[in-house]
Amino acid sequence: MRFYSVIALAFVVGSASAQTLPRTPEGRPNLQGIWQVANRASYNLEDHVARNAMPAGRSIVEGGTIPYQPWAASERQVNFENRSTADPLNNCFLPGTPRVMYMDWPFHIFQTDEHVAITFEWQQVHRLIYTNGQPPLYGGIESWMGNSRGRWEGDMLVVEITDHNDQTWFDAAGNFHSSALRVTERYHMRDGDTIDYEATIEDPNVFTRPWTIRMAFYRQAGMDRILEYQCQAEKEEANGAFERDVRNWYPAAVPVDNEPFDADAGVELPLPEASEDIPRLRDGTPDISGYFMADAGGANYGLEEHERDFLLPASRGQVIDPPEGRLPYQTWARSELNDRLRPHRGYDDPTAHCFVGGVPRSHYVPAPFYILQPPGYVVVLHERMSWRQISLDGRPPLPDQLRLWMGDSIGRWEGDTLVVESKNFNGKAWLNEAGDVVSHMQTVVETFTPVSPTQIVYRATVADPIPYTRPWTIEMPFNRAEDELLEVACLEDNGDLQILKDVRDEYRSSLNPEE
């Protein structure tokens, strides 16, 4: 009798939670929000005792242990013993999937009727999961994060991940796989604040049978946005490999001998005319989602028009204000730009270290990006592994002391143009390889105007009183294409940086020959 009562109770509770789940307009469970695990899986998936910098924890593996083949169990032991240097995360490499899901950092799930996107605070990793049945365009191309394809089975999101490389681990204890790895994830909302997650791991090269891990993701109700942890940048700032620029980084002040900044000096620039035949979302908002590549005309090599100079490609010039196309530099900042063009400064470009590009540069580096429009946001996933989450809900800005590589972006629709205002930058980015200068005081106002079903005209107005005398504006088209993002795991082979460092060090030695 008691048994049947328990069953009945479980049924009632189950039905109640199924009815009260947040749901999308299509009736699917709405996973959108900020989530995080509360377990020790990222240290070791199996039962483990505490060690230096590793808290004890219980196994989340069904049956307790991972069914390794004998040779692989030995390999795992070697990994464990060498973990302080061998863990790929110690080199800030992309964590792979599922590891990224249970690292001790929050992540944000965004959901549309065609995709689920997940953005992670750690190293600004993202996943784009197609749930619209679109077959992969680049099947068989291995990557660190794998290729995720999802489907809804009733209220369950099921994601198949294929095409992993063999470079990632499952945790910090050396549990590993081969490139034959296949992961099946299941996301099931237990209630509005909890997702039950499981991942089944198949890899016949390493394990004797498939095995499954289970855990819960908890909604981080007190968090309205995730922030950034740029693993490699933090590491290099801490060990001195990436040096502070006191003139531009937060909290640098406006130089006392600067010319006054004329905030009202810009010319009137009427917005481009939006096309009437653009696709629209259900609520009538322009649909600007999809794969885009900037027709940047060399913006990543200098925003002012210039000819090719050896291996620095030409730029057609993107500056539309001031009308003559020259950036309104303070005298010292123009000198700084000219200095950055010298070979020994190539090392100082943050993107040469594989750090993120900042705003607006991330849109015109030579790499595509994917725009998504989940409710309340415009989300941009950059192929060079960073993301922008542009909130549309009118939330208050971040406090001044919170500073980010990509800034804090708040957007709104004005007619058919998306207007985005960004600030809270850290001032560490360069605007391109030439070294166009920007500081933490930059504010960026961007407009995205869909002028045809396949083109957005993009403008960015930068106001920054440290290197400039007045605001300025650049313009370029973004072209939509039927394509998919691949993955740029920049740190996987950045041999260039050592050469750039050698060039810098040789220059410094020449200045101080006695050293």
């Binding site: 191309i141 291996l311 090392y347 192929e383 060079r384 691949l486 041999g495």
Partner: protein, 134 residues
Amino acid sequence: MNRILISVLATSLSVTILAGTAIAHHSFSAEFDIDRPVELTGRVIEMKWSNPHAWIYIEVEDETGNVVNWALETRGANGLIRSGWRKEDLPTGTILKIEGWQARNGSPTANISTVTFDDGRRLFAGPNPRARQR
């Protein structure tokens, strides 16, 4: 085996720059030396299909018989993949002729301006002509 030669040219090369050279995440002008143009012929040891740049490693025998392994930087793997190139297009042992510029630190590293197979076909310049048949 044909003798594989390296010649470091004293004068500037007149070469067509691959469009892909622009797929950069750092300054090529800062890394490579306009005064060190190189012309290399060598045998492919490995190609690393990495991003934001891919690398072709070749072994080159100089006039005294010493074999030097060169690292040659090319477009990122993603750009090559989108143009239809795949790993099997550059098997180990392929003989390549390369023009480019050597790294400023003097290491056997070069930026590629042109790559040709020994039959004169260009590698990685534009879309892979065989991609459609795949």
